[in-house]
Protein backbone atom coordinates (compact mmCIF):
# COMPACT_ATOMS: atom_id res chain seq x y z
CA UNK A 1 0.00 0.00 0.00
CA UNK A 2 2.85 2.39 0.88
CA UNK A 3 4.30 1.97 -2.62
CA UNK A 4 0.96 2.79 -4.27
CA UNK A 5 0.52 5.89 -2.11
CA UNK A 6 4.09 7.06 -2.71
CA UNK A 7 3.57 6.54 -6.45
CA UNK A 8 0.31 8.54 -6.46
CA UNK A 9 2.01 11.34 -4.50
CA UNK A 10 5.07 11.29 -6.75
CA UNK A 11 2.93 11.53 -9.89
CA UNK A 12 0.95 14.51 -8.57
CA UNK A 13 3.97 16.11 -6.88
CA UNK A 14 6.24 15.81 -9.92
CA UNK A 15 3.62 17.55 -12.06
CA UNK A 16 4.29 20.69 -10.02
CA UNK A 17 7.93 20.58 -11.09
CA UNK A 18 7.10 20.80 -14.81
CA UNK A 19 6.66 24.60 -14.96
CA UNK A 20 9.87 24.94 -12.94
CA UNK A 21 11.74 22.84 -15.51
CA UNK A 22 10.49 24.95 -18.44
CA UNK A 23 11.00 28.14 -16.45
CA UNK A 24 14.63 27.23 -15.82
CA UNK A 25 15.06 26.71 -19.58
CA UNK A 26 13.80 30.26 -20.17
CA UNK A 27 16.01 31.83 -17.48
CA UNK A 28 19.06 30.09 -18.97
CA UNK A 29 18.22 31.24 -22.53
CA UNK A 30 17.18 34.84 -21.96
CA UNK A 31 19.54 37.39 -20.37
CA UNK A 32 18.51 38.68 -16.94
CA UNK A 33 18.34 42.29 -18.21
CA UNK A 34 15.58 41.30 -20.63
CA UNK A 35 13.26 39.58 -18.16
CA UNK A 36 13.90 42.15 -15.44
CA UNK A 37 12.87 45.02 -17.70
CA UNK A 38 9.53 46.84 -17.79
CA UNK A 39 8.80 46.00 -21.41
CA UNK A 40 6.77 42.96 -22.43
CA UNK A 41 6.99 42.74 -26.23
CA UNK A 42 7.14 39.14 -27.48
CA UNK A 43 7.27 40.37 -31.13
CA UNK A 44 10.56 42.14 -30.35
CA UNK A 45 11.83 39.20 -28.29
CA UNK A 46 11.67 41.26 -25.09
CA UNK A 47 10.10 39.54 -22.12
CA UNK A 48 10.19 41.91 -19.16
CA UNK A 49 8.09 40.63 -16.26
CA UNK A 50 8.17 44.02 -14.51
CA UNK A 51 4.78 45.41 -15.53
CA UNK A 52 2.63 42.30 -14.88
CA UNK A 53 4.58 41.62 -11.70
CA UNK A 54 3.83 45.13 -10.44
CA UNK A 55 0.19 44.64 -11.50
CA UNK A 56 -0.06 41.43 -9.45
CA UNK A 57 1.69 43.05 -6.49
CA UNK A 58 -0.54 46.15 -6.54
CA UNK A 59 -3.66 43.98 -6.74
CA UNK A 60 -2.56 41.90 -3.75
CA UNK A 61 -1.48 44.94 -1.73
CA UNK A 62 -4.85 46.61 -2.39
CA UNK A 63 -7.03 43.54 -1.93
CA UNK A 64 -5.44 41.36 0.76
CA UNK A 65 -6.06 43.73 3.71
CA UNK A 66 -9.61 44.45 2.49
CA UNK A 67 -10.42 40.75 2.09
CA UNK A 68 -8.98 39.81 5.48
CA UNK A 69 -10.74 42.70 7.21
CA UNK A 70 -14.12 41.93 5.61
CA UNK A 71 -13.66 38.20 6.21
CA UNK A 72 -12.86 38.86 9.88
CA UNK A 73 -15.83 41.17 10.41
CA UNK A 74 -18.17 38.62 8.79
CA UNK A 75 -16.73 35.78 10.87
CA UNK A 76 -16.85 37.84 14.07
CA UNK A 77 -20.46 38.97 13.54
CA UNK A 78 -21.53 35.42 12.71
CA UNK A 79 -19.84 33.78 15.70
CA UNK A 80 -20.80 36.51 18.19
CA UNK A 81 -24.46 36.73 17.26
CA UNK A 82 -26.89 35.14 19.68
CA UNK A 83 -29.65 34.94 17.07
CA UNK A 84 -29.43 31.43 15.60
CA UNK A 85 -31.52 32.35 12.55
CA UNK A 86 -29.14 35.18 11.65
CA UNK A 87 -26.21 32.82 12.10
CA UNK A 88 -27.79 30.17 9.86
CA UNK A 89 -28.55 32.75 7.16
CA UNK A 90 -25.01 34.20 7.41
CA UNK A 91 -23.40 30.77 7.02
CA UNK A 92 -25.68 29.88 4.09
CA UNK A 93 -24.81 33.21 2.40
CA UNK A 94 -21.09 32.67 2.88
CA UNK A 95 -21.25 29.09 1.61
CA UNK A 96 -23.21 30.25 -1.43
CA UNK A 97 -20.64 32.94 -2.27
CA UNK A 98 -17.75 30.55 -1.65
CA UNK A 99 -19.19 28.03 -4.09
CA UNK A 100 -19.99 30.50 -6.89
CA UNK A 101 -17.89 30.13 -10.06
CA UNK A 102 -15.63 33.13 -10.56
CA UNK A 103 -16.94 33.71 -14.08
CA UNK A 104 -20.46 34.26 -12.68
CA UNK A 105 -19.13 36.83 -10.21
CA UNK A 106 -17.25 38.42 -13.11
CA UNK A 107 -20.43 38.75 -15.18
CA UNK A 108 -22.26 40.21 -12.17
CA UNK A 109 -19.44 42.72 -11.52
CA UNK A 110 -19.38 43.83 -15.17
CA UNK A 111 -23.16 44.34 -15.14
CA UNK A 112 -23.49 46.15 -11.83
CA UNK A 113 -20.15 47.47 -10.64
CA UNK A 114 -18.46 48.71 -13.80
CA UNK A 115 -21.13 51.30 -14.72
CA UNK A 116 -20.89 52.77 -11.19
CA UNK A 117 -17.09 52.97 -11.32
CA UNK A 118 -17.26 54.45 -14.83
CA UNK A 119 -19.28 57.31 -13.30
CA UNK A 120 -16.33 58.05 -11.00
CA UNK A 121 -13.78 58.10 -13.81
CA UNK A 122 -12.01 56.05 -16.46
CA UNK A 123 -13.40 53.17 -18.48
CA UNK A 124 -14.42 51.18 -15.40
CA UNK A 125 -11.96 48.37 -16.12
CA UNK A 126 -9.58 49.19 -13.33
CA UNK A 127 -7.62 48.20 -10.25
CA UNK A 128 -10.49 49.50 -8.10
CA UNK A 129 -13.15 47.36 -9.85
CA UNK A 130 -10.97 44.24 -9.73
CA UNK A 131 -10.05 44.80 -6.12
CA UNK A 132 -13.67 45.29 -4.99
CA UNK A 133 -14.94 42.28 -6.96
CA UNK A 134 -12.17 40.04 -5.61
CA UNK A 135 -12.79 41.24 -2.06
CA UNK A 136 -16.51 40.49 -2.33
CA UNK A 137 -15.78 37.10 -3.90
CA UNK A 138 -12.99 35.81 -1.63
CA UNK A 139 -13.99 37.33 1.75
CA UNK A 140 -16.71 34.68 2.41
CA UNK A 141 -14.20 31.79 1.93
CA UNK A 142 -11.80 33.61 4.23
CA UNK A 143 -14.65 34.21 6.73
CA UNK A 144 -15.57 30.51 6.79
CA UNK A 145 -11.97 29.64 7.73
CA UNK A 146 -11.78 32.42 10.31
CA UNK A 147 -15.11 31.34 11.76
CA UNK A 148 -13.77 27.85 12.34
CA UNK A 149 -10.64 29.17 14.08
CA UNK A 150 -12.47 31.82 16.07
CA UNK A 151 -15.21 29.34 17.03
CA UNK A 152 -12.58 26.96 18.46
CA UNK A 153 -10.80 29.83 20.19
CA UNK A 154 -14.05 31.12 21.67
CA UNK A 155 -15.05 27.66 22.90
CA UNK A 156 -11.80 27.58 24.88
CA UNK A 157 -11.67 31.21 26.04
CA UNK A 158 -15.28 32.43 25.79
CA UNK A 159 -15.94 32.36 29.54
CA UNK A 160 -12.81 34.36 30.23
CA UNK A 161 -13.79 36.92 27.57
CA UNK A 162 -17.20 37.33 29.15
CA UNK A 163 -15.73 37.60 32.66
CA UNK A 164 -13.36 40.34 31.54
CA UNK A 165 -16.16 42.04 29.56
CA UNK A 166 -13.86 42.58 26.57
CA UNK A 167 -14.77 44.89 23.70
CA UNK A 168 -14.85 43.63 20.10
CA UNK A 169 -11.50 45.26 19.42
CA UNK A 170 -9.89 43.63 22.49
CA UNK A 171 -11.30 40.24 21.49
CA UNK A 172 -9.75 40.69 18.04
CA UNK A 173 -6.35 41.57 19.50
CA UNK A 174 -6.35 38.56 21.86
CA UNK A 175 -7.47 36.25 19.04
CA UNK A 176 -4.67 37.48 16.76
CA UNK A 177 -2.15 36.96 19.55
CA UNK A 178 -3.51 33.54 20.48
CA UNK A 179 -3.94 31.99 17.03
CA UNK A 180 -0.89 33.30 15.16
CA UNK A 181 -0.06 30.12 13.22
CA UNK A 182 -3.68 29.53 12.25
CA UNK A 183 -3.93 33.13 11.04
CA UNK A 184 -0.70 32.77 9.04
CA UNK A 185 -2.33 29.83 7.28
CA UNK A 186 -5.48 31.84 6.52
CA UNK A 187 -3.48 34.86 5.29
CA UNK A 188 -1.42 32.57 3.04
CA UNK A 189 -4.56 30.85 1.75
CA UNK A 190 -6.09 34.24 0.91
CA UNK A 191 -2.84 35.33 -0.75
CA UNK A 192 -2.86 32.16 -2.89
CA UNK A 193 -6.48 32.77 -3.90
CA UNK A 194 -5.77 36.41 -4.82
CA UNK A 195 -2.56 35.61 -6.68
CA UNK A 196 -4.14 32.79 -8.63
CA UNK A 197 -7.54 34.27 -9.39
CA UNK A 198 -7.63 34.76 -13.14
CA UNK A 199 -11.15 34.99 -14.50
CA UNK A 200 -12.32 38.00 -12.49
CA UNK A 201 -9.02 39.75 -13.20
CA UNK A 202 -9.31 39.02 -16.93
CA UNK A 203 -12.86 40.37 -16.97
CA UNK A 204 -12.35 43.53 -14.90
CA UNK A 205 -8.73 44.67 -15.12
CA UNK A 206 -8.78 45.84 -18.74
CA UNK A 207 -5.61 43.77 -19.33
CA UNK A 208 -3.54 46.84 -20.24
CA UNK A 209 0.22 46.46 -20.15
CA UNK A 210 0.83 49.52 -17.99
CA UNK A 211 1.60 50.42 -14.42
CA UNK A 212 -1.64 51.90 -13.08
CA UNK A 213 -1.18 55.54 -12.05
CA UNK A 214 -4.47 55.64 -10.18
CA UNK A 215 -7.08 53.12 -8.92
CA UNK A 216 -9.17 53.95 -12.00
CA UNK A 217 -6.50 52.75 -14.46
CA UNK A 218 -6.37 49.37 -16.12
CA UNK A 219 -3.51 46.93 -15.49
CA UNK A 220 -2.41 43.37 -16.12
CA UNK A 221 -1.35 40.60 -13.75
CA UNK A 222 1.05 37.67 -14.24
CA UNK A 223 -1.71 35.05 -14.34
CA UNK A 224 -3.80 37.10 -16.80
CA UNK A 225 -0.77 37.35 -19.11
CA UNK A 226 -0.45 33.55 -19.10
CA UNK A 227 -4.17 33.00 -19.70
CA UNK A 228 -4.34 35.55 -22.52
CA UNK A 229 -1.23 34.55 -24.47
CA UNK A 230 -0.57 30.84 -23.95
CA UNK A 231 -2.94 29.69 -26.70
CA UNK A 232 -0.86 31.27 -29.50
CA UNK A 233 2.60 31.51 -27.95
CA UNK A 234 5.49 29.55 -29.46
CA UNK A 235 9.24 29.24 -28.85
CA UNK A 236 10.75 31.67 -26.34
CA UNK A 237 7.40 33.41 -25.86
CA UNK A 238 5.88 30.12 -24.68
CA UNK A 239 8.87 29.50 -22.40
CA UNK A 240 8.45 33.00 -20.94
CA UNK A 241 4.86 32.19 -20.00
CA UNK A 242 6.02 28.95 -18.36
CA UNK A 243 8.63 31.01 -16.51
CA UNK A 244 5.84 33.24 -15.16
CA UNK A 245 4.03 30.11 -13.99
CA UNK A 246 7.29 28.89 -12.43
CA UNK A 247 7.65 32.15 -10.48
CA UNK A 248 4.09 31.74 -9.20
CA UNK A 249 4.66 28.09 -8.32
CA UNK A 250 7.85 28.83 -6.37
CA UNK A 251 6.25 31.71 -4.44
CA UNK A 252 3.15 29.70 -3.58
CA UNK A 253 4.99 26.47 -2.66
CA UNK A 254 7.31 28.53 -0.43
CA UNK A 255 4.38 30.22 1.31
CA UNK A 256 2.39 27.02 1.72
CA UNK A 257 5.33 25.08 3.16
CA UNK A 258 6.12 27.98 5.50
CA UNK A 259 2.57 28.16 6.84
CA UNK A 260 2.41 24.34 7.11
CA UNK A 261 5.68 24.35 9.05
CA UNK A 262 4.33 26.97 11.46
CA UNK A 263 1.09 25.05 12.01
CA UNK A 264 3.08 21.84 12.56
CA UNK A 265 5.33 23.62 15.11
CA UNK A 266 2.32 24.95 17.01
CA UNK A 267 0.60 21.54 16.97
Amino acid sequence: MSTVIVLICLVFGSLLLIPLWHGAEFFLQVPALSWMSMQWAPDLNVYGFGVPLIGSTLLIVATLPLTLALGWVLAFQTVETTNTNVRAVAIALMQTWASLPSVVVGVWAISTMLPAIRELGGSGYSLLATSIALTVFIAPSCALLLMQSYGEYRAAHGDLERALNLTAWEKTVYFVKGCGSELTHIVNYTFCRLFGETLIVLMLSGNMLQIPGSPFDGFRTLTATVALEIAYATGTHELALYAITAIGTIVLIGLLLFSRGRRHETA
Binding site: I8, P101, V105, M203
Partner: protein, 265 residues
Protein backbone atom coordinates in the same frame (compact mmCIF):
# COMPACT_ATOMS: atom_id res chain seq x y z
CA UNK B 1 -31.98 49.30 13.30
CA UNK B 2 -30.12 47.55 16.13
CA UNK B 3 -30.08 44.34 14.10
CA UNK B 4 -28.70 46.24 11.12
CA UNK B 5 -25.90 47.86 13.09
CA UNK B 6 -24.85 44.60 14.71
CA UNK B 7 -25.10 42.48 11.59
CA UNK B 8 -24.36 45.15 9.03
CA UNK B 9 -21.93 43.08 6.95
CA UNK B 10 -24.20 40.04 6.96
CA UNK B 11 -27.01 42.32 5.73
CA UNK B 12 -24.59 43.68 3.11
CA UNK B 13 -23.96 40.16 1.80
CA UNK B 14 -27.70 39.44 1.77
CA UNK B 15 -28.15 42.56 -0.39
CA UNK B 16 -25.26 41.54 -2.65
CA UNK B 17 -26.86 38.12 -3.11
CA UNK B 18 -30.19 39.74 -4.02
CA UNK B 19 -28.34 42.00 -6.48
CA UNK B 20 -26.63 38.92 -7.98
CA UNK B 21 -29.92 37.12 -8.48
CA UNK B 22 -31.66 40.22 -9.87
CA UNK B 23 -28.81 40.81 -12.33
CA UNK B 24 -29.32 37.41 -13.89
CA UNK B 25 -33.11 37.33 -13.98
CA UNK B 26 -34.90 38.54 -17.07
CA UNK B 27 -35.65 37.03 -20.43
CA UNK B 28 -33.44 34.01 -20.94
CA UNK B 29 -31.53 33.86 -24.23
CA UNK B 30 -29.66 30.79 -25.49
CA UNK B 31 -29.23 31.56 -29.20
CA UNK B 32 -25.46 31.00 -29.34
CA UNK B 33 -25.36 28.01 -27.00
CA UNK B 34 -25.41 24.52 -28.47
CA UNK B 35 -26.18 21.15 -26.90
CA UNK B 36 -22.48 20.33 -27.36
CA UNK B 37 -21.58 22.84 -24.63
CA UNK B 38 -23.86 21.14 -22.09
CA UNK B 39 -22.94 17.58 -23.10
CA UNK B 40 -19.20 18.39 -23.10
CA UNK B 41 -19.48 20.07 -19.70
CA UNK B 42 -21.41 17.13 -18.27
CA UNK B 43 -18.95 14.52 -19.59
CA UNK B 44 -15.86 16.52 -18.51
CA UNK B 45 -17.04 17.28 -14.98
CA UNK B 46 -18.62 13.88 -14.20
CA UNK B 47 -15.65 12.08 -15.80
CA UNK B 48 -13.13 14.09 -13.76
CA UNK B 49 -15.04 13.42 -10.54
CA UNK B 50 -15.08 9.66 -11.23
CA UNK B 51 -11.38 9.52 -12.20
CA UNK B 52 -10.25 11.60 -9.20
CA UNK B 53 -12.33 9.72 -6.64
CA UNK B 54 -10.37 6.45 -6.26
CA UNK B 55 -6.83 7.86 -5.75
CA UNK B 56 -8.24 10.63 -3.54
CA UNK B 57 -10.16 8.08 -1.46
CA UNK B 58 -7.04 5.90 -1.04
CA UNK B 59 -4.94 8.88 0.09
CA UNK B 60 -7.71 10.00 2.43
CA UNK B 61 -7.60 6.51 3.95
CA UNK B 62 -3.93 7.08 4.81
CA UNK B 63 -4.51 10.54 6.24
CA UNK B 64 -7.52 9.39 8.28
CA UNK B 65 -5.51 6.51 9.75
CA UNK B 66 -7.35 3.61 8.09
CA UNK B 67 -4.18 2.27 6.45
CA UNK B 68 -1.06 1.91 8.52
CA UNK B 69 1.93 3.24 6.56
CA UNK B 70 5.36 4.47 7.68
CA UNK B 71 5.26 7.96 9.19
CA UNK B 72 7.35 9.46 6.38
CA UNK B 73 4.84 8.24 3.75
CA UNK B 74 2.02 9.89 5.70
CA UNK B 75 3.98 13.14 6.05
CA UNK B 76 4.88 13.09 2.34
CA UNK B 77 1.24 12.48 1.32
CA UNK B 78 0.07 15.26 3.62
CA UNK B 79 2.61 17.71 2.20
CA UNK B 80 1.66 16.93 -1.42
CA UNK B 81 -2.04 17.36 -0.63
CA UNK B 82 -1.42 20.63 1.20
CA UNK B 83 0.64 22.11 -1.64
CA UNK B 84 -1.76 20.91 -4.35
CA UNK B 85 -4.73 22.32 -2.45
CA UNK B 86 -3.12 25.75 -2.36
CA UNK B 87 -2.19 25.84 -6.06
CA UNK B 88 -4.38 28.17 -8.11
CA UNK B 89 -6.25 26.52 -10.93
CA UNK B 90 -4.44 28.60 -13.59
CA UNK B 91 -1.12 26.98 -12.59
CA UNK B 92 -2.74 23.54 -12.68
CA UNK B 93 -4.18 24.54 -16.07
CA UNK B 94 -0.70 25.36 -17.40
CA UNK B 95 0.57 22.01 -16.10
CA UNK B 96 -2.36 20.29 -17.83
CA UNK B 97 -1.63 22.24 -21.01
CA UNK B 98 2.03 21.13 -21.03
CA UNK B 99 1.46 17.50 -20.02
CA UNK B 100 -1.84 16.54 -21.63
CA UNK B 101 -2.07 18.86 -24.65
CA UNK B 102 1.65 18.79 -25.60
CA UNK B 103 3.57 15.87 -24.09
CA UNK B 104 0.86 13.22 -24.29
CA UNK B 105 -0.48 14.67 -27.54
CA UNK B 106 -4.16 14.85 -26.59
CA UNK B 107 -4.35 18.44 -27.87
CA UNK B 108 -7.23 20.72 -26.86
CA UNK B 109 -9.69 17.99 -26.09
CA UNK B 110 -12.28 16.61 -23.73
CA UNK B 111 -9.70 14.16 -22.36
CA UNK B 112 -7.19 16.94 -21.57
CA UNK B 113 -9.96 18.89 -19.81
CA UNK B 114 -10.98 15.82 -17.75
CA UNK B 115 -7.40 15.10 -16.67
CA UNK B 116 -6.76 18.77 -15.80
CA UNK B 117 -9.92 18.85 -13.72
CA UNK B 118 -8.66 15.73 -11.91
CA UNK B 119 -5.65 17.78 -10.79
CA UNK B 120 -7.96 20.50 -9.47
CA UNK B 121 -10.38 18.11 -7.77
CA UNK B 122 -7.83 15.74 -6.23
CA UNK B 123 -6.86 17.75 -3.09
CA UNK B 124 -10.44 18.96 -2.52
CA UNK B 125 -11.80 15.43 -2.60
CA UNK B 126 -9.03 14.20 -0.27
CA UNK B 127 -9.90 16.87 2.31
CA UNK B 128 -13.59 15.98 2.07
CA UNK B 129 -12.99 12.21 2.30
CA UNK B 130 -10.69 12.66 5.32
CA UNK B 131 -13.50 14.49 7.11
CA UNK B 132 -15.81 11.61 6.27
CA UNK B 133 -13.41 8.84 7.33
CA UNK B 134 -11.83 10.32 10.46
CA UNK B 135 -14.80 9.90 12.81
CA UNK B 136 -15.30 6.25 11.83
CA UNK B 137 -11.73 5.12 11.30
CA UNK B 138 -10.96 4.30 14.95
CA UNK B 139 -14.01 2.66 16.49
CA UNK B 140 -15.44 0.95 13.43
CA UNK B 141 -12.12 -0.21 12.09
CA UNK B 142 -11.38 -1.99 15.36
CA UNK B 143 -14.68 -3.80 15.01
CA UNK B 144 -13.92 -4.57 11.36
CA UNK B 145 -10.51 -5.97 12.31
CA UNK B 146 -12.09 -8.28 14.84
CA UNK B 147 -14.29 -9.59 12.02
CA UNK B 148 -11.16 -10.13 9.85
CA UNK B 149 -12.13 -7.29 7.51
CA UNK B 150 -8.98 -5.72 6.05
CA UNK B 151 -8.52 -1.98 5.53
CA UNK B 152 -9.19 -2.19 1.78
CA UNK B 153 -12.41 -4.12 2.30
CA UNK B 154 -13.34 -1.69 5.09
CA UNK B 155 -12.75 1.30 2.78
CA UNK B 156 -14.43 -0.05 -0.33
CA UNK B 157 -17.23 -2.23 1.12
CA UNK B 158 -18.10 -1.25 4.66
CA UNK B 159 -17.78 2.55 4.51
CA UNK B 160 -19.79 3.03 1.28
CA UNK B 161 -22.61 0.95 2.79
CA UNK B 162 -22.57 2.78 6.12
CA UNK B 163 -22.00 6.29 4.72
CA UNK B 164 -23.73 6.07 1.33
CA UNK B 165 -25.59 9.39 1.63
CA UNK B 166 -22.52 11.33 2.79
CA UNK B 167 -20.39 9.83 0.02
CA UNK B 168 -23.00 10.79 -2.53
CA UNK B 169 -22.97 14.33 -1.15
CA UNK B 170 -19.16 14.43 -1.39
CA UNK B 171 -19.18 13.28 -4.99
CA UNK B 172 -21.74 15.97 -5.80
CA UNK B 173 -19.49 18.48 -4.04
CA UNK B 174 -16.63 17.34 -6.29
CA UNK B 175 -18.86 17.69 -9.31
CA UNK B 176 -19.88 21.24 -8.38
CA UNK B 177 -16.22 22.14 -7.80
CA UNK B 178 -15.44 20.84 -11.29
CA UNK B 179 -18.40 22.75 -12.74
CA UNK B 180 -17.23 25.97 -11.14
CA UNK B 181 -13.65 25.86 -12.36
CA UNK B 182 -12.89 27.81 -15.49
CA UNK B 183 -9.28 28.96 -15.42
CA UNK B 184 -7.84 25.43 -15.48
CA UNK B 185 -9.92 24.09 -18.33
CA UNK B 186 -9.85 27.20 -20.51
CA UNK B 187 -6.26 26.27 -21.41
CA UNK B 188 -6.99 22.63 -22.22
CA UNK B 189 -10.57 22.12 -23.46
CA UNK B 190 -10.64 24.07 -26.72
CA UNK B 191 -13.41 26.27 -28.06
CA UNK B 192 -15.49 24.20 -30.49
CA UNK B 193 -19.25 24.36 -30.01
CA UNK B 194 -19.96 21.04 -31.76
CA UNK B 195 -21.15 17.91 -30.03
CA UNK B 196 -18.06 15.88 -29.01
CA UNK B 197 -17.94 12.51 -30.78
CA UNK B 198 -14.92 11.19 -28.92
CA UNK B 199 -12.81 12.17 -25.92
CA UNK B 200 -10.18 13.55 -28.31
CA UNK B 201 -12.58 16.17 -29.71
CA UNK B 202 -12.30 19.81 -28.73
CA UNK B 203 -15.20 21.09 -26.63
CA UNK B 204 -16.21 24.38 -25.08
CA UNK B 205 -17.15 24.03 -21.43
CA UNK B 206 -20.02 26.07 -20.02
CA UNK B 207 -18.03 28.44 -17.81
CA UNK B 208 -15.56 29.23 -20.57
CA UNK B 209 -18.49 29.73 -22.94
CA UNK B 210 -19.94 32.29 -20.49
CA UNK B 211 -16.57 34.06 -20.33
CA UNK B 212 -16.28 34.20 -24.13
CA UNK B 213 -19.86 35.45 -24.49
CA UNK B 214 -19.28 38.19 -21.91
CA UNK B 215 -15.88 39.33 -23.14
CA UNK B 216 -15.38 38.37 -26.79
CA UNK B 217 -18.78 38.15 -28.49
CA UNK B 218 -20.42 41.50 -29.32
CA UNK B 219 -23.87 41.57 -27.71
CA UNK B 220 -23.22 38.32 -25.89
CA UNK B 221 -23.62 39.71 -22.37
CA UNK B 222 -27.35 39.00 -22.22
CA UNK B 223 -26.78 35.34 -23.01
CA UNK B 224 -23.87 35.25 -20.55
CA UNK B 225 -26.30 36.46 -17.86
CA UNK B 226 -28.87 33.82 -18.83
CA UNK B 227 -26.27 31.07 -18.65
CA UNK B 228 -24.95 32.42 -15.32
CA UNK B 229 -28.48 32.19 -13.98
CA UNK B 230 -28.66 28.60 -15.19
CA UNK B 231 -25.33 27.80 -13.50
CA UNK B 232 -26.46 29.34 -10.20
CA UNK B 233 -29.75 27.42 -10.25
CA UNK B 234 -27.90 24.22 -11.18
CA UNK B 235 -25.34 24.66 -8.39
CA UNK B 236 -28.05 25.50 -5.89
CA UNK B 237 -29.98 22.35 -6.79
CA UNK B 238 -26.83 20.20 -6.70
CA UNK B 239 -25.60 21.59 -3.39
CA UNK B 240 -28.80 21.83 -1.43
CA UNK B 241 -31.24 19.29 -2.94
CA UNK B 242 -29.37 16.14 -1.75
CA UNK B 243 -29.12 17.57 1.78
CA UNK B 244 -32.80 18.47 1.75
CA UNK B 245 -33.83 15.05 0.46
CA UNK B 246 -31.57 13.34 3.01
CA UNK B 247 -33.02 15.45 5.88
CA UNK B 248 -36.60 14.77 4.76
CA UNK B 249 -35.81 11.07 4.44
CA UNK B 250 -34.21 10.97 7.91
CA UNK B 251 -37.07 12.86 9.56
CA UNK B 252 -39.61 10.62 7.79
CA UNK B 253 -37.81 7.56 9.17
CA UNK B 254 -37.82 9.08 12.66
CA UNK B 255 -41.57 9.67 12.43
CA UNK B 256 -42.27 5.95 11.88
CA UNK B 257 -44.77 4.97 14.61
CA UNK B 258 -42.73 1.94 15.64
CA UNK B 259 -40.75 2.97 18.73
CA UNK B 260 -38.32 0.47 20.19
CA UNK B 261 -38.25 2.21 23.59
CA UNK B 262 -42.02 1.79 23.94
CA UNK B 263 -41.69 -1.88 23.00
CA UNK B 264 -38.91 -2.40 25.55
CA UNK B 265 -40.94 -0.67 28.23
Amino acid sequence: MKLLSRHIFIVLYALLTISLVLTFTGKLVFSRTTAGVFVGTLIATVGATIVATVPAYLLAGILAGVFRVPAWVERFALMICYVLAGMPSIILGVIGFIVFCHWLGFGWSLLSAILTLVLVLFPNLIAAFVQLLKPISGRYQELARSLSIGPLEFMFRSVPRYKAAEMGELLIFGWTRALGDTAAVMLTCGTLLDMPKSVFDSVRLLNYHIYLLAMEVPGGMREARSLSFLVIVGLFVLLFAPRLIFNLWTSARQRVPFNTEEVNA
